[in-house]
């Protein structure tokens, strides 16, 4: 079974076709990087998976459960809401701008959803949060507010927060794009660690070396379409399209 299955996804912003008929399947434990020029629809595609953007046409399945399906004529399929919610909970997301809750401490950021959404007991949530903070190397920061830590630390907290809901799939939307260059490494190290632990991940990134190193598959998007979908070796060494060759030579 695929962890994520996207079929014929279309997303328009007015006249702009941000995503233009994309099919994509992600297998368990697979790390998929999505690269491409800015405005190519990478982030939009990622956001269509967890419904931050509502697709205009297509079908999204998470672990076999369809969560949304819209046909060309606008007809919308109906799925059991409880099942859809369960499927949605398999997804975690990391944002370019972290989006931590500024009024909550690092620890509170992580336990918020487990407590409020999953109604977990506080002790269990805190124990897990502390383990996660240790994993991302921030065990000493749990009482700090987001404003008191660096960008790299914020993003690591954001990763811990996403993992706090114990997702099966982690969506990362340009996780290092807003960081100072010297802080990129610490975030990539955490993501690398997750990849090695076989977390299923979809990563939109501009870090070519990183994409090449950790990905099982790399997808190149251009103008809302998937131009090429293959192993890092094939994309980075022998891309079929001149467009990709140009892009990669510019990025490296």
């Amino acid at each position: 079974m695929s962890m994520v299955k996207l079929s014929n996804i279309h997303k328009y912003f007015g006249d702009v076709k941000a995503v233009d008929g994309v099919d994509l399947e992600v297998k368990p434990g697979e790390v998929v990087s999505i690269i491409g020029p800015s405005g190519s629809g990478k982030s939009t595609l990622l956001r269509c998976i967890n419904q931050l953007e509502t697709i205009d046409v297509g079908r999204v399945e998470i672990e076999g459960q369809p969560v949304i399906e819209l046909q060309q004529d606008g007809h919308r399929a109906h799925f059991d809401k409880a099942k859809v919610l369960i499927a949605q909970k398999k997804l975690g997301m990391v944002f370019q701008h972290f989006n931590l809750f500024p009024h909550k401490t690092v620890l509170e950021n992580i336990i918020e959803a487990p407590l409020v959404v999953n109604k977990e007991n506080r002790k269990a949530a805190v124990t897990r949060a502390e383990k996660l903070l240790k994993r991302v190397g921030l065990a000493d920061k749990h009482n700090a507010y987001p404003s008191q830590i660096s960008g790299g630390q914020k993003q690591r907290v954001a990763i811990a927060r996403a993992l706090g809901m114990e997702p099966d799939i982690l969506l990362c939307d340009e996780p290092t794009s807003a960081l100072d260059p010297e802080l990129v490494g610490e975030v990539l190290a955490v993501l690398r660690d997750l990849a090695r632990a076989h977390m299923t991940m979809l990563v939109v990134t501009h870090e070519m070396a990183f994409a090449r190193e950790i990905s099982d598959r790399v997808i190149f998007m251009d103008q809302g379409k998937v131009l090429e979908d293959g192993s890092p070796e094939s994309i980075f060494k022998n891309p079929k399209h001149q467009r990709i060759r140009d892009f990669i030579s510019k990025m490296i």
Binding site: L91, G92, F95, F98, P102, H103, K104, E112, V116, V117
Partner: protein, 213 residues
């Protein structure tokens, strides 16, 4: 000295009513304003429109006129409110209109990323608003809210026009009896004390919420 103390005693009695109206208004208007602000920001268009008209009317006409309307005007419809009820209703509806607009601006100032983070964590609407958006929005609206809270202390003096004995009315009674301005000076000191308390409460709140900036 005894004279001044007797004046203070008399004014204190009026002060009780001032405080009652004050707290009833705060307790009524603030929750109502939060609900209305949520209605304006995330309710259907029609609700937003209706609340816009409500704000237009109650911010656009004198509080004094509204007070007359709810006390005298409603009798035309066979509704006759006691003075305190009419005053409380007027103040709550009037202040809720101002506070609604303040909270609305606060809610709208919260970054989209906060909603998206909450959504990505599968928080529902109420969880998102109550736990993530409103705490931040209310913090941002503390300064304008403090203005309203201070203005309300002084606006309570309007209730004399529907025959209620508040702080200022008590002072006026002594003035009429003894023809000295001392009671007015004392009344002014009372108002200053009350507004000082309000200012300090807000200062404390702002300090407390500063921790996360």
């Amino acid at each position: 000295m005894d004279y001044i103390l007797s004046i203070v005693g008399h004014i204190l009695k009026g002060c009780g009513l001032t405080l009652q109206i004050y707290f009833v208004t705060v307790l009524g208007a603030v929750p109502l304003a939060i609900l209305f602000a949520l209605g304006r920001t995330s309710g259907p268009k029609l609700l937003d429109r209706a609340l816009g008209i409500y704000a237009w009317i109650f911010r656009g006409t004198p509080l004094l006129l509204q007070l007359f309307f709810f006390y005298y005007g409603l009798t035309i419809f066979g509704i006759s409110l006691p003075p305190f009820g009419a005053a409380a209703l007027t103040f709550i509806i009037n202040y809720a209109a101002y506070m609604m607009e303040i909270f609305r601006s606060g809610i709208q100032s919260i970054e989209k990323g906060q909603y998206e983070a909450a959504r990505a964590l599968n928080m529902n609407y109420w969880q998102t608003m109550w736990r993530i958006i409103l705490p931040q929005a209310l913090k941002r609206t503390l300064p304008p809210s403090a203005n309203e809270a201070i203005t309300l202390v002084k606006d309570t003096a309007l209730v004399v026009v529907i025959g209620m004995g508040d702080l200022l009315r008590s002072a006026k009674e002594i003035f009429t009896r003894d023809f000295t301005i001392t009671p007015f000076v004392i009344a002014a000191i009372f108002y200053l004390l009350l507004t000082s308390v309000v200012i300090n409460v807000f200062r404390t709140l702002e300090k407390k919420m500063e921790v996360y900036d």
